[in-house]
């Protein structure tokens, strides 16, 4: 009938933080009288309930299943049951690797309204409207769901802030139906660190370019990157010169900073080949002594100045 159902994610016995962001999003679209419930599915869901005692949550549903780790058919089966019983208007899930595995199947099976990678939700004249990106994030697209009783939305991470205040929602154990899954989780494998740094997965990158001058200066920026918690990247000339391994190169011939949300470019002029790897990043800060450097054309913030001085000052603050 109504209400918002949030589906939390858990992995290896821990709640995934992105789940909490959904609570904030739920507040933006709940109507007066709507309840916000958050479901957690796992072999030991009770253990995860305390982390969900946050403002904005009215009810925690713990759903105990056989599969300890994420399994698409298990989650689909459990959610089918919850949605059938609770009939929420909106179901919010994280747009994540796990939800890639089940969300569309659930939407197809239950004929739900459905949109993914949503970064804004609102009600316009009572209608639910979600905003997502289109054409490689170059346009924004507002979508709605005429005639859909229940809408499933997968929300982009790092857009909504998790609630900070605690609360005391009631906790209900929801009985899951018997689910015969056709997949079986086997193991988790950590990748060795090495310098197989994952530039494509890095969300915060500090890149250095020719402006740093000599190889001897690389160390200073490596240290700065560590201090501010960024992954150190570079433009082509640096990698070509061997000052940093090729795995750290961002650009047409290096890696694309696909997951990057904050990109600080120091001493990078912004040659087209480099821009190809990072100009899509939502927040780019360019630091360069040349006010005419191309990088300023794609940056959100620009600092025209001596990169060493700025770097030193920045280091002091972390």
């Amino acid at each position: 009938m109504s209400g918002v159902l949030i589906v939390a994610e858990q992995r290896r016995g821990e709640l995934r933080a992105q789940s909490l962001e959904l609570i904030t999003a739920a507040q933006a679209i709940r109507r007066a009288g709507d309840a916000v419930a958050i479901a957690v599915i796992g072999a030991a869901p009770d253990a995860l309930a305390p982390a969900l005692r946050l403002a904005g949550v009215d009810e925690i549903l713990t759903i105990k299943v056989d599969a300890a780790e994420f399994d698409p058919e298990t989650v689909e089966g459990a959610l089918c049951a919850v949605i059938a019983e609770r009939e929420p208007d909106v179901v919010l899930i994280p747009h994540s690797v796990d939800s890639f595995g089940y969300a569309a199947a659930l939407a197809a099976k239950l004929r739900l309204g459905f949109a993914t990678d949503v970064f804004n939700v609102q009600r316009i004249d009572g209608e639910l409207v979600a905003t997502r990106g289109g054409y490689g994030q170059k346009v924004n697209v507002d979508v709605d769901f005429p005639g859909k009783r229940t809408v499933l939305l997968a929300l982009r991470g790092n857009v909504f802030k998790p609630p900070e205040q605690a609360a005391s929602p009631r906790i209900t154990a929801f009985p899951a139906p018997a689910i015969a899954s056709r997949s079986r989780s086997r193991d988790f494998i950590e990748l060795p660190a090495g310098d197989d740094v994952d530039m494509t997965g890095a969300e915060f990158i500090l890149s250095i370019g020719r402006g740093i001058g000599e190889e001897a200066n690389v160390g200073q920026f490596r240290e700065l990157a560590d201090a501010i918690g960024a992954t150190l990247g570079c433009s082509r000339p640096i990698a070509d010169a061997g000052w940093l391994p090729k795995s750290r190169q961002v650009g047409q011939s290096g890696k694309t900073a696909s997951a990057c949300k904050l990109y600080i470019a120091m001493g990078v002029s912004g040659a087209i080949q480099h821009l190809a790897g990072m100009k899509h990043v939502s927040t780019i800060v360019a630091v360069n002594s040349d006010a005419n450097a191309s990088i300023f054309g794609v940056a959100k913030y620009g600092i025209v100045g001596n990169i060493f001085e700025v770097a030193n000052e920045l280091r002091k603050l972390f």
Binding site: H95, V97, F114
Partner: protein
Amino acid sequence: MKIMVAVKQVAALDEDFELQGDDRGVDPDFLIHDLNEWDDFSLEEAVKIKEAWSTPVEIVAVTVGPGGADEILRKCLAKGADRAVRVWEDAIEGSDPVAIARVLAAAAKREAPDMLFAGVQSSDQSCASTGIATAAFLDWPHAAVLTQLELAPGAKSAVFRRELEGGLLHEVEIQCPAVLTIQLGINTPRYASLRSIKQAAVKPVEVLSLADLSLSAADVGESGSASRVRSMYRPQKGSAQLIAGDAAAQAARLAEIIREFKGGSP
């Protein structure tokens, strides 16, 4: 063994694109088409299986799209697909991933493959939905974001690894037939030389209509979709905001930006 690979012709925007009059789409003049990057990897994965086993493996590339999409099918044929199938009718225009999935599932029922591969997402709309929705319509086991796959022709199950956030891998065993969506980097897609693409152009593309798949207009288009586009518009984008002051002041503001950014992540 037959592997069906669902592929999409994606559209990238030209630099100075213009929106259509109804503000619900982009003027087609400004669209640059190409094979979806993810589909390169899923096709390559299928071809690798074909080359690794002596059992004959037939690879069928299937797309839902208008005539222009034949170009990407030719690329698939050049890269190792054996046959190409395209489904289209004007009614399919405006379909979202769920509607497309309905069509793909019908095509799969007709082809009766042993496995169905798709890309994790498309580079234009990035919904990450089509492959998995197709699995629901077929009621097949499914998994997404595969970065490694062990599959033998005729086997009852396959073992794969999916790539989680932060570089963690999750190993799973899945029963076959199944729908698997393939992630970038699982392999190195082979280069299809222009010559091989030209030679592939003589191979026929089977074109199907909705009727051929026992579907109707209600199953596709806006009526068959799970969402509707209300409006499309340019996001607000300004030029670089220059941070003034001396190095210390600039660094201070930069530190703020960094902290603001980090404040949002776990």
